[in-house]
């Protein structure tokens, strides 16, 4: 059974390779497509929107100084024409592209950049991404309500923006490419107030034409978008409130082009083994690691030997089968696509005898009782059960607490509350493809606070210092050295075993047969669906 499943999954993957090879498809001009989601689109305000549905739409509605080449994690100047970084890594000077216009017709100028980033940081905006801009001089004053703007952003003329940083930040160019750094027109934001998220105006590849609440959003191509041959479709309609199962049926009948919620687990094998599998399933790696956070401040999990024993007790191969093989076992926090991933690192191998011996050494020869929190959405309770069985094999009795995501997150952020948490359903894609994004909030001391996301409550001052050192290496020439330093932070912390890295889950999107292009523009590492790049073939 095992082998059969693995073979099928492999065959499926191999069947997909021609897609990436991209024969001689030509995009059809003038096409519009239909995309479905189950949930409403929350908001298209780039300073606020922060979920995986609106993330890719905001990407396509607005432009930013920096952008990624579609399907990759390669940074390129976008709204910026060029940029310079001083050797100390503290001053970034951007020259703006000329003649770029907002969809209301006004030209984008340097003061728009300053306004937009100040708005993202301003507490009144209630934006979740304010912290990303922490390196810009004057950040503390604005975020603490003591100033109205950021002293570190200067606009000597309409075509130049200068950022002065208070500390070197090697991720700064990535920061300027995330949605929170999208450029918005001040006059429209002020006129619309909180409704800007429903009536967005930007300078991206698409324009929002219509939004019928609870039903659909209609996006139209921006005819004057500054990137050549982009976008490749004339528009897309997002239909919301669509049950994934029904969306899939509609997709098979050609009514829907992309079923945004993917393929429900119950239908996966049927579709995968169906005749159209190669044409409709896009299966790609993403920057994601599913893990068990072990609370280092709860007894007896505060004992490192206990945490190591738990690491050795988990049969990760078996757990990947619960998600129909749509994942690869992991041994370190970083996913393989992330710079710094150490492919030679072995981690803790599955070894029940050794785990039992370690537990005995730690003073728990007969195991102990604890609790495992998990999201109540499928397949997470089933994964929690598999973990529970694995722990039971070394004598650890873990009671499963399957709760709504919000309650798991609350328990994780309360000191001494949740002994262990399975992250599935709550750990989302990385904000940008840089290892630092996998450390600070979820493994660093800064996240080990009330309401934080460091559910292991792990705080290692030495590693924090190394993290700061790595993030100070902003010279692009030191890229590899920096990635290596970051990688060592993650592999070294595994000695303390605050996590059980379980698997790296691949993302699955269902698309209609007429959709063309490589899989990595449907599962773009920085965008999810890259609306700028996808096209209709034939």
């Amino acid at each position: 059974m095992t082998h059969w499943l693995q073979r099928t999954a492999l065959a499926g993957l191999m069947a997909l390779t021609p897609l990436v090879a991209l024969a001689d498809e030509t995009p059809v001009k003038g096409a519009t497509i239909v995309v479905t989601y189950k949930d409403d689109i929350a908001t298209l305000d780039p300073a606020i929107g922060y979920d995986w549905q609106n993330w890719s739409m905001i990407k396509s509605l607005f432009s930013r100084l920096m952008e990624y080449t579609p399907g990759t994690a390669d940074l390129v100047p976008s709204l910026a024409e060029s940029f310079e970084i001083t050797p100390d890594g503290l001053t970034y000077t951007f020259k703006l592209r000329k003649g770029v216009k907002f969809s209301n017709g006004r030209e984008v100028v340097a003061s728009d950049v300053k306004y937009s980033i100040e708005r993202a940081v301003n507490p009144k905006t209630q934006g979740p991404g304010a912290g990303f801009f922490g390196a810009i001089a004057g950040f503390e004053d604005l975020s603490g309500g003591k100033a109205e703007g950021l002293s570190g952003i200067e606009t000597p003329d309409d075509g130049t923006v200068i950022f002065k940083l208070s500390r070197p930040d090697a991720t700064f160019l990535h920061v300027l490419a995330i949605n929170f750094a999208s450029i918005v027109p001040k006059e429209v934001v002020e006129a619309e107030g909180q409704d800007f998220g429903k009536k967005p105006v930007g300078s991206g590849a698409f324009v929002l034409k219509e939004w019928v609440i609870g039903q659909r959003l209609v996006f139209e191509k921006n005819p004057s978008f500054y990137v050549a041959d982009t976008p490749k479709i004339d528009g897309f309609t997002v239909e919301v409130g669509q049950e994934p199962l029904v969306a899939l049926l509609r997709l098979q009948q050609g009514e829907v082009d992309i079923a945004g919620d993917g393929i429900p687990p119950a239908k996966f094998l049927e579709i995968k083994n169906g005749p159209d599998a190669a044409d409709i399933i896009v299966d790609g790696e993403q920057l994601q690691t599913g893990y068990v956070a072990i609370n280092t401040r709860v007894k007896p999990l505060d004992n490192v030997k206990v945490r190591q024993a738990l690491n050795m007790a988990v049969n990760k191969e078996r757990i990947t089968r619960i998600v129909n093989g749509r994942a690869t076992p992991a041994n370190q926090p970083l996913p393989p696509l992330m710079p710094g991933y150490d492919k030679d690192f072995k981690g803790y191998a599955y070894d029940i005898e050794k785990a039992k011996a370690l537990l005995a050494e730690a003073g728990f020869p007969d195991g102990f009782e604890t609790a495992l929190y998990a999201s109540s959405t499928d397949p997470n309770p089933r994964i929690a059960q598999a973990l529970q069985q694995d722990f039971a094999a070394i004598g650890v009795k873990a009671e499963i607490k399957a709760l709504a995501n919000a309650n798991v997150i609350a328990a994780g952020g309360t000191e001494g509350e949740a002994p262990m948490i399975w992250s599935g359903g709550m750990a989302w894609i990385a904000d940008f493809p840089d290892p630092s994004n996998f450390y600070g909030p979820i493994l660093g001391c800064a996240g080990a606070v009330q309401g934080g996301w460091n559910w292991s409550w792990y705080c290692n001052k030495d590693l924090d210092a190394r993290a700061i050192e790595a993030d100070s290496m902003s010279d692009p020439a030191k890229k590899d050295e920096r990635a290596k330093l970051w990688g060592s932070v993650f592999t070294d912390l595994m000695a303390d075993a605050p996590w059980i890295p379980v698997f790296n889950e691949r993302r699955v999107v269902a698309k209609s047969k007429r959709m063309g292009g490589p899989g990595n523009i449907y599962i773009d590492p920085t965008r999810v669906i890259n609306y700028d790049a996808i096209y209709v073939k034939q």
């Binding site: 908001t43 507490p123 975020s143 998220g197 049950e243 995501n405 800064a446 309401g451």
Partner: protein, 306 residues
């Protein structure tokens, strides 16, 4: 009559206040922190604190509640945490779909229920009666999800008589209304049957029959109207229930009703939306019952509106 309406509306206000207070306390007693939820994984503690402050969540519960009531009195339900849109706008946008589904669902269930119930009552104890009661039992117990998907698969996906999902034309409403109607009809059929049996045993029916009134007239003119009373009360309850949203049916057919809004809001701890939907549906229940009480005397003059 007017005095009754006023008195009942006054009572409704008290009920709404109670509902608001209880929901508010329950929502804030939840361990889930909306600010943490909104801020996401990468937010700093400062960002979370800022968001909490901007939403007023750092104030004592009673202050927050008074603030909420103050806005409520002015018809302001606040803004959604996640969407930032006014809750009233979100609810109003979904109201037409909810009303259409409510009315058509009730029409279907009453039509089916009334017919089956009457037929069963007239054949009391016979084969038809037992068949109807069995069918209605199945209808009452069948899960909405199964019936909805079954109808969708047969009539939309396979036969393609109706669209699979969406909203806007008559053909869109057929399957959702049928799902609600078929499932709800069982209750009505059973209720009508027992009311009819009760009425058919009354002296005045026997008298009517004895004086030679045609059986058809006996049933339509004497029996049915008198059996309608409990049905009116049931419709009143259904109005309230359907107004609160029929989550499953809406989800399967992509019907943009209030139920979907509520369901998403609960998952996202979007307190203003949860409060708004709860209040609107409680209001609907109160109004539904009031309407039922006002209609009852029209059907049966023995009942005085009181």
């Amino acid at each position: 009559m007017i005095e009754l309406i006023l008195r009942r509306l006054g009572g409704a206000l008290m009920i709404l206040f109670g509902v608001a207070a209880i929901t508010f306390v329950l929502l804030y007693a939840l361990p889930a922190d909306p600010a943490v939820q909104l801020a996401g994984r990468s937010a700093t503690a400062q960002t979370v604190a800022n968001i909490r402050h901007e939403l007023g969540l750092d104030q004592p519960l009673i202050v927050q509640f008074i603030h909420y009531l103050g806005n409520l009195v002015q018809g302001d339900l606040g803004r959604s945490y996640t969407q930032k849109t006014e809750v009233m706008t979100l609810i109003l946008a979904r109201l037409p779909a909810t009303l259409i589904l409510m009315v058509s669902g009730i029409l279907v269930e009453v039509a089916i229920g009334l017919t089956l119930g009457t037929v069963a009552a007239l054949n009391r104890g016979g084969f038809v009666d037992r068949l109807v009661m069995t069918v209605s039992f199945v209808g009452v117990s069948a899960p909405q999800f199964v019936v909805a998907l079954l109808l969708l698969y047969v009539f939309a996906a396979t036969l393609q008589w109706f669209p699979m999902s969406g909203f806007g034309t008559f053909s869109h409403v057929v399957l959702p209304a049928l799902t609600l109607g078929v499932l709800g009809a069982g209750w009505y059929a059973r209720m009508v049957r027992s009311a009819m049996i009760d009425v058919l045993n009354q002296d005045y029916v026997r008298t009517a029959r004895a004086k030679g009134v045609a059986e058809r007239a006996v049933i339509l003119r004497h029996a049915v109207p008198n059996a309608l009373l409990p049905i009116v009360a049931m419709i009143g309850i259904d109005i309230g229930q359907f107004m609160g949203g029929v989550v499953v049916v809406e989800a399967v057919y992509g019907w943009p009703g209030i139920g979907q809004l509520a369901w998403q809001a609960i998952q996202q701890v979007d307190i203003p939306i949860i409060m708004g939907v709860t209040l609107i549906s409680s209001l609907a229940i109160v109004i539904g019952n009031l309407v039922a009480d006002l209609v009852a005397p029209l059907i049966d003059p023995r009942i005085r509106a009181r």
